[in-house]
Amino acid sequence: EAGVAQSPRYKIIEKRQSVAFWCNPISGHATLYWYQQILGQGPKLLIQFQNNGVVDDSQLPKDRFSAERLKGVDSTLKIQPAKLEDSAVYLCASSSAGTSGMNEQFFGPGTRLTVL
């Protein structure tokens, strides 16, 4: 079974530029999550999708962050414009919890974003 795929693995941009991250979850997983992990902290949930609908985006800074999951499969997270404090690892995770009741989340390798 293929795992959660993310790209790119690393990205360096200057502040006020835009950036986009891509995630392809495990096949058949209905629930998809985007997390932000700042150095020394645990992952913080940004947005949770169930199929192609948003379940929770209460911690997404909507003035600059946006995410979509068209067709309920892969997802894109965008930051526009980036700030210095957005430097972090962005983790995507998927889960079959919506259908199987199993709450285990499978994480991708993450995208390390550096904003200069």
Binding site: G42, L45, S95, P109
Partner: protein
Amino acid sequence: DQQVKQNSPSLSVQEGRISILNCDYTNSMFDYFLWYKKYPAEGPTFLISISSIKDKNEDGRFTVFLNKSAKHLSLHIVPSQPGDSAVYFCAGGRKNFNKFYFGSGTKLNVKP
């Protein structure tokens, strides 16, 4: 507002001995807890979970204990192996919401 806390940033243990990693939570509505292990440059991988209807769950060398009255859980690794050296994250939440809050992690170093 940290609902899950791991107060020990690091732990060093000798190979073969027991590793005990601790986690506290503040939300009494949480009914499901998970532990994840993370190696550098990789995403976290699921290790073990426990539902609030249990006070213990065991999987091989890994055992998680839950003390609901103290809002405290711990992960025991026996015996510890050098390959267990990683950052361990505790997460808790409400199972039906499929949304979990993570602690800040404990870096475990198992010395040969």
